[in-house]
């Protein structure tokens, strides 16, 4: 997640002790009684909840409405002034801003849209595959130094990316591949590994050992056990980390800014640049920001279930 939340960072097996001691199932009547006695019954409480909900929604609504208004209107009046017009049918909306920001000379976001996909897809597949293999070894292959190595990998989550950027960059320059997609893929993959290994290892440990033992008795090797026994059971876990990594890479600014050349920069970099150079052109900025947001929003809303599950596994369960 963009330097966005990386839940689970050093979360560890922390909260297990407050898992419910097999709570008694409440009857529906009792539940309803609790609900009505609940805090939303007081007008103050509902007031506060509504204020928070509104504060968290209005800024995005403003952006979305503005992005569809004609440039001149945006300059002359606030987006809330269209609200009466929506009901009378007088409000004027247009897709011009999107056209200009996607294909116009000043920004050409359509190209960077492609770049974002080309960067993100391998940067999700590669680290997850590597992390799955490593997590399998740490969970199910006994070897010397296993504990130490796992703790070391876990500890690497502490390292801020900033510490690694300059030395990596100078290597890429020396090899003559700086600014290409390859360095971006490599960098994203490396930076994702500690958290990915840690989380997937936790999921893998949850699988009953008897399953693995049974397969081993049947003569299956590690590769077979991994693909035939564990992999199918891990699909939800992989999905939840996959969404994390997707959002993180898609929304990343630091890696894109440091390692891509202008022709291959992702959309976040282009939009950030737009904000720097055309700070007052809200018709471009609002449309650009929305274009950059649309893919993660779709992924996020469609797969929210997996996402929450992964987040809780990282942050709460450990």
């Amino acid at each position: 997640m963009t330097t966005t939340p990386t839940p689970g960072q050093a979360a560890g097996p922390l909260v297990e002790d407050d898992s419910p001691a097999t709570p008694r199932k409440l009857s529906r009547l009792e539940k309803r009684a609790i609900a009505t006695k609940g805090r939303l019954s007081s007008p103050w409480a509902s007031g506060i909840a509504i204020i928070i909900a509104v504060l968290w929604t209005i800024p995005s609504v403003g952006l979305l409405v503005t992005s569809f208004r004609p440039e001149l209107d945006i300059r002359n009046s606030g987006w809330w002034t269209v609200i009466p017009g929506v009901f009378t049918g007088e409000a004027e909306f247009t897709a011009d801003n999107y056209n200009e920001v996607l294909y116009g000379n000043s920004s050409n976001l359509a190209d960077t849209f492609v770049n974002s996909f080309v960067i993100t897809i391998p940067a999700v597949i590669i680290p997850i595959t590597l992390a799955l293999l490593a997590a399998y070894a740490f969970a199910w292959i006994p070897f010397k130094g296993r504990e130490f190595l796992f703790v070391a990998v876990f500890a690497l989550q502490v390292v801020p990316l900033q510490v690694a950027l300059v030395p990596l960059l100078s290597d890429y320059v020396d090899w003559g591949i700086n600014g290409t997609f390859w360095t971006v893929w490599l960098s994203h993959s490396i930076f994702a590994l500690p958290l990915a290994i840690f989380l997937l290892h936790n999921f893998m440990k949850d699988i009953p050992a008897s399953l693995v033992e049974a397969a081993r008795v049947d003569g299956a090797g590690h590769v077979k056990i991994f693909f035939r026994v564990l992999f199918p059971l891990l699909v939800p876990a992989i999905a939840s980390f996959g969404i994390f990594q997707f959002l993180w890479v898609w929304n990343d600014l630091l890696v894109g800014l440091t390692f891509t050349s202008p022709a291959y920069r992702p959309m976040t970099v282009a939009v950030a640049e737009l904000a720097g150079s055309r700070g007052g052109d809200w018709h471009l900025l609002t449309a650009g920001a929305f274009v950059a947001m649309i893919v993660p929003l779709i992924v996020f809303i469609a797969l929210q279930r997996f996402f929450v599950r992964g987040m809780l596994a990282g942050a709460v369960k450990g």
Partner: protein, 329 residues
Amino acid sequence: MSWLLEPSGATEKFLVMFVAILLFVAVMSLVLFVVDRPKRIPNWVVAIGFVGVPLAFLLYGLIRPTLITVWNSFFDDTSTEFVGLDNYVTAFTQPQFQKVLLVTAAWVILAPLLSTVIGLVYAVLVDRTRFEKAAKALVFIPMAISMVGASIIWGFVYEFRPEQAGIQQIGLLNQVLVWLGMPPQQFLIGQPWNTGFLIVVMIWIQTGFAMTVLSAAIKAIPDDIVEAARLDGLHGMQMFRFITVPSIRPALVVVLTTIAMATLKAFDIVRTMTGGQFGTQVVANEFYTQAFRQNNQGLAAALAVVLFILVIPIIVYNVGQMRKAEDIR
């Protein structure tokens, strides 16, 4: 073969992408095939097949660069002359950088605290209500938005137009001020409050995370505890203070430390909204400025190390809490 390094046009770009994925799959398959072939093979060879590549990545891309950066932080701006602790002295004594540290401290204290408090209050308020799902989704969605996107959203809320006849405010917050009969403000310029207005963006993003984790923790509080407290006559605030908060303490620690770490490393918001001007600079963005704009590699390295060192106490506290939790168990 130059298109492999420099593809032009969408088709070539996607082609390179598929080549990269296929190459990766091929290499990994080969490694697994090799370690799986012979019948009597020592475990450590198999283990290397599984962990070798990931560990090599980490050794090359995280451990080695970290050591180099620590080393470089003792050298001058071109990494040629040894200067001892000079870069650190600069970072901690020059007023300009002291200010940066101070602003960073404000971020690391305020953003986690306020996101957690708001997330907790909201989670408690909407818990077990009819609208719980929808209400949570509203606060949750900003998590999907990049910090750059969030910065633009809020930059628009803060937009300022000078107070003149015939000119309307287009930023919502200034319009609210005008409605209330106050003069419009340049929210991103006036020190020191502008840092506060930037931190708001971080809080807006992180509250959804805090709310989701804390809400799950609240739901895990055993019902008999809640009921017993209720029979004892606890209500409303008392229930919150004496039952809810102590029961979810471990989750609170996780949320606070996770957000603190994310905040410490984040530079996107400051960079997009003010570029670090007007006294809003933070360590993570100052690092970027020094490394790639000023080309002062020594100072940049020192700042990165400072960032690293600042994370450590948070982690130590977190691990300490973990130990405690395990002891109780």
